[in-house]
């Protein structure tokens, strides 16, 4: 197992290098140049030369790349063009907020999706099954920004409820934090729940058709044991794979949702960086999110062995 993890970590190196090269190449596509963007109409040849030297833009591209990536691996993502503050500490403090949102969304999604998906498979083609399938389809088809806006409208018009404006940390003020985080987590979770529900249903149906389930039933095992110990556990591999893949859309979703609910997370920081053309912020955030995404998927792969010991990593 340890060898497998080490091997997978080594295999990550070319992917992470590729990600960093892709980000660097896209940054080179910026029309005009970064210095003009910073200086605006105030640029003089002297100021321009000074900024080019400061940002290392007077060096060849390959050197620029290695200088950037060399600093990035030590946690130096540069400074924001707008505020002058170092980007990495800001990313780390905001990541905690986004991670809390993502974890809450996952919990909500699982609470909704897993029981309903299992129930739907057990009651195949019944009214319950049809309702669950329609709910799941709605879940995957309603964009998170649309459901968030409609939810805010519904709560404001129907209950005169507005979420608190000022953010409070989880350990700072638990009550306010939950008031702020639960609605966005519900929106993100409901999108995720749709896909997990569909996958749980189809995966359970596949397993329930297998001969070994018939054998378990034939030996007189209670239905609860048949469903949970034998069927559900074996149907969870595709579900876990899907959850791993969905971490990406969850992280993308936070960019939109944090903006709508004014949550000062990593998504909002990324978006502010993009709209203000603050390139060190954009570059840093995109690199950080991509690395987290890749690492989460590695964790999911490792999780397979615990779910299904038949999977060998030798």
């Amino acid at each position: 197992m340890r060898d497998y993890i080490i091997r997978r970590l080594i295999m990550l190196i070319p992917i992470l290098l590729g990600i960093s090269i892709a980000i660097f190449v896209v940054m080179q596509l910026i029309p005009g140049d970064v210095v003009s963007g910073i200086l605006g109409i105030e640029q003089t040849p002297e100021l321009r030369a000074m900024w080019e030297k400061k940002l290392g833009l007077d060096k060849p591209l390959v050197e620029q790349y290695f200088s950037w990536i060399g600093k990035a691996v030590t946690g130096d993502f540069g400074e924001s063009f707008r505020t002058g503050a170092p980007v990495f500490p800001e990313i780390m403090s905001r990541f905690k907020i986004s991670a809390e949102l993502a974890v809450l969304a996952c919990i909500i999604a699982w609470i909704i999706a897993l029981p309903l998906g299992v129930l739907s498979s057990l009651k195949r083609n019944s009214v319950i099954d049809r309702i669950v399938r329609v709910v799941a389809l709605m879940g995957v088809s309603i964009p998170n920004f649309a459901s968030a806006t409609l939810l805010i409208l519904f709560l404001a018009k129907g209950f005169n409820y507005h979420t608190p404006v000022k953010y409070a940390g989880l350990f700072e003020n638990f009550g306010v934090n939950m008031q702020i985080m639960l609605l966005p987590a519900l929106v993100l979770g409901s999108v995720m729940a749709g896909s997990v529900m569909r996958m749980t249903r189809s995966s359970m149906l596949e397993v329930l058709r297998q001969d070994y389930i018939k054998a378990v039933r034939a030996k007189g095992a209670p239905e609860r044991v048949t469903i949970f110990r034998h069927a559900f556990k074996n149907s969870s591999i595709p579900i876990v794979t899907l959850v791993g893949m969905q971490i990406g859309s969850l992280m993308g979703g936070t960019v939109v949702i944090e903006q709508i609910f004014s949550i000062p997370g990593l998504g909002q920081y990324t978006l502010t960086g993009i709209s203000q053309r603050d390139f060190p912020v954009v570059q840093g955030c995109v690199l950080f999110i991509a690395v987290v995404y890749v690492l989460v998927n590695l964790l999911v792969d490792i999780l397979y062995t615990y779910i299904d010991p038949r999977i060998s990593y030798s």
Binding site: I15, A22, L150, I274, R277
Partner: protein, 291 residues
């Protein structure tokens, strides 16, 4: 009298009957086709369906509710929401189709090359695909638009690039399966050229998963465009986009809820229709997957 046995009525297999007819027989497929059909009609005949110019402001009728004059009400500039929604369908479909066209074109070519030639070519292509896949899609699209600048063309390019790996992987997997079949071995043995085998014999057999993927990718592309426009980084004013209409409406949603409800409704109907059609198409083209 001895009863003569009636022949069993069988559901025709794909290929014996047109896919469209099979889709129409499936209730979900029919619902999806009707939904998409209506959106296409709206987009194509927008100048005839819309009641006003999308930019025309009715200063005296700002934030008016739905009425006989303004079916879906007016926005804060007094513009007719119905007309903007109708033209918004055109923007959504054009962006979706062009973006998926870019993704499908590149994805098909790269998937074919990777699946057929294998070796180092495949390794390099799939590594590039893995790298693109390592980014959350909306984030990568926003990142590309941030670098290229916000415009309708750049939005299409960004969404197209993000979707290439899905097509490439689908085509590659199908090519690998088809390649090991006897008829491809026969085609090789009679001396057919690689390109001929690839395009005349392999292509028709990868079309089924490719078509399903294209339908699902269209809903994803429309969703990404709407999300980007919602964040102000997609379609720029004065072009109407459902995403930006919804975003602009948030300031006035308590006094004018129709500004939120109608764009949201059309985004949901469109994406739902594509998803339903994608599911039905998958069931028709690959009944083994139907559970």
């Amino acid at each position: 009298m001895k009863k003569t046995r009636q022949p069993v009525k069988q559901r025709p297999l794909p290929g014996n009957e047109s896919t469209l007819r099979l889709l129409w027989q499936d209730p979900m497929g029919r619902a999806g086709m009707i939904g998409i059909g209506l959106i296409i009609i709206m987009a194509v005949f927008a100048p005839w369906i819309a009641r006003y110019d999308v930019a025309q402001m009715h200063a005296r009728n700002r934030l008016q509710g739905p009425s006989a004059q303004f079916w879906f009400g007016t926005d804060n500039f007094g513009r007719d929401v119905f007309s903007r929604i109708v033209y918004g369908a055109r923007v959504s479909l054009v962006v979706g189709i062009v973006a998926v066209g870019i993704a499908a074109g590149f994805g098909y070519l790269l998937g074919m090359i990777a699946g057929f030639f294998e070796g180092k070519t495949e390794t390099v292509i799939m590594m590039v695909m893995d790298i693109i896949f390592a980014f959350p899609s909306i984030l990568l699209a926003l990142f590309i638009v941030a670098a290229l600048g916000t415009s309708i063309v750049n939005t299409m390019i960004a969404i197209g690039i993000v979707n290439i790996p899905v097509f490439c992987r689908t085509v590659r997997a199908s090519v690998k399966t088809v390649k090991s079949t006897d008829y491809i071995a026969n085609a090789r043995s009679i001396g057919l050229k690689r390109m001929s085998i690839l395009f005349r014999h392999v292509t028709p057999n990868v079309m089924a998963p490719f078509t399903v993927q294209a339908t699902l990718a269209l809903s994803g592309a429309i969703l990404t465009e709407a999300s980007m426009s919602f964040l102000g980084l997609g379609i720029q004013p004065p072009n109407p986009s459902w995403g930006s209409m919804l975003s602009d409406a948030r300031k006035y949603m308590e006094q004018a809820p129709w500004l939120v409800i109608f764009p949201a409704l059309f985004i949901i109907i469109t994406i739902l229709s594509f998803n339903i059609l994608g599911d039905a198409l998958r069931d028709v083209l690959d009944p083994k997957l139907k559970l």
